[in-house]
Subunit: 334 residues, 2 copies
Amino acid sequence: MTIYDVSEKAGVSIATVSRVLNGSKNVSEKTRTKVLDTIRQCGYTPNAFARGLGLNTMNTIGIMCADSSDPYLAKAVYYIERKLRTNGYDSLLCCTGYELADKISAMHLLLTKKVDGIILVGSNFIYEKDSENKYISDAAARIPVTLLNAALDVPNVYSIVSDDYTSMYQAALEMVQKGVKDVLYFYSSTSYSGKKKLEGYRTAMEEQGLLSPELVQYFSGSHEDVHAMTEQLKTLKRQGLSFHGVIASDDILALAAVKFAKEMNYRIPEDFSVLGYNNSMLATCCDPELTSIDNKLETLCQHLITILMGVLAGNEMPKKTVFSGEIIKRGTTR
Amino acid sequence: MTIYDVSEKAGVSIATVSRVLNGSKNVSEKTRTKVLDTIRQCGYTPNAFARGLGLNTMNTIGIMCADSSDPYLAKAVYYIERKLRTNGYDSLLCCTGYELADKISAMHLLLTKKVDGIILVGSNFIYEKDSENKYISDAAARIPVTLLNAALDVPNVYSIVSDDYTSMYQAALEMVQKGVKDVLYFYSSTSYSGKKKLEGYRTAMEEQGLLSPELVQYFSGSHEDVHAMTEQLKTLKRQGLSFHGVIASDDILALAAVKFAKEMNYRIPEDFSVLGYNNSMLATCCDPELTSIDNKLETLCQHLITILMGVLAGNEMPKKTVFSGEIIKRGTTR
DNA sequence: GTGAAAGCGCTAACAG
DNA sequence: CTGTTAGCGCTTTCAC
């Protein structure tokens, strides 16, 4: 069933069918209904490939995400996909993993498939060296690229971020002011946003004259391995490091800190404070429940889509948009 | 840059360029390298839309998932996307939500976009009435449809499931045999697999002469609302229902049961046992850690892809594939 | 308001 | 082994 069949049955030309299909103004009401009727009758659907070839777009956006099974990223992908679809775009998903080479080849794939834009979900797509971000600027030379939770100052790249620096700065400051001694920073990501968070902690501690290198601890294991996280804290303790609070770059690391505290028989939050990040489901799964920083993921996603749609419509859009986070107080902090 | 430009620069016909592009055998080594060189030189990439129009496929698979932010489904989507891509297929993701109407329109969309196959992730796509599954059989009349964690006996639909019935049967039996009195079944899904699980519990309890309607409790709130789940258990208790164990259809419900037990000052597992389902990250986040049923998600996904690829290659493939689950013992059961 | 016809860029059958 | 050519199904001028 093609546009030719329809045109024949309706007794009009294919141009007319095409016009009613695309809602053109220049069709008499009479022929419009006639065409619409026969379309309905034979259940005709336009061929998307042919349409794509003609218009040079199939209205799809490429979503790249290192690991969409990470609950935080999964949520982002979910919001983004839904909002894209309500805007008439489909989502081509690519879970790239964390290797640069795989990200590059996924990017190529998406470009090959002629998506109309690309969304990079998560800050791990931005690297230190400019040369390692070349795959992004190269892509942006062809189609708009939007970044969630990361920023890159390159033409045709649009960044939407939460102010992780300030959130962490305030969290650290607050914990210190409540009298928590030796606040340890526990993190697992050195991504763009990971760096901002760490910087926020560092600045706050430095201003208080409390910054100490051994209080900044990197966890290099699997994102899901709570045991290993807890184990690392226990080892630190065993080695004589003293700390009575943990600020984590992630709720799961925070959860590991809570586990650690329990095993040590510390009272939470009296003897030991914990603060997480993302305000994920894990925060309420924990006991006591986690104080956690909410970075307004849905809002970020909403704006990301708005900006991308604007760019695709040819409008001038802000290169960088920053939202504030919010500390959600629960049981693990005073 | 089109195939014409390349053919001109290389001094061959477009057919030859097309041949080297598609790895045809009938090209002399000399012209092949010549063409390949000029392709590299001018950085030519074939136009996917034109290719799609000619071949009537763009090698993409539609993935439908009610809620890809559900950690379990997110993981499935992740596995599936990665495996699809290594098989040369891209993934068009549709997060449909739980409304039938939305599922139907998402299905239409994917069909319109001419995907080569459809994967339904999660058992919530199958309904009681045949009429409500029509959207699936209709789609299957056009392209292969594969079901993860659900089964439907319809031509061109392929089902890959874990044996939830047996897993739950054994779990319930074991708990009873360990002497746990009044084992409550706590569930939140009436999907295909949800029913199987419940049936497993029911049969086991019935065989022991222990089945009682008020021990089967449905939770209708949000999938993430641990509070509400705990609250429901507390209400039951307050109303005089006695139970010393909970078998949950989901790790998060199980986690809520653990919270409940703690608030009641029950000792786990001495006074109170809990068993979850999915063996998700939540199981190790919990304290004590959850005993949970592992339904081998990655294995299921792997086989699903194998079967789909087989079908697309024109091979005869099994209509239904069943895997066994496994109880992973941790701290919440004796 | 409607139709004829020229692409869009590629694949594949056919001829040589 | 290589080239010619006819589609694939739709959009979009350009005439009428």
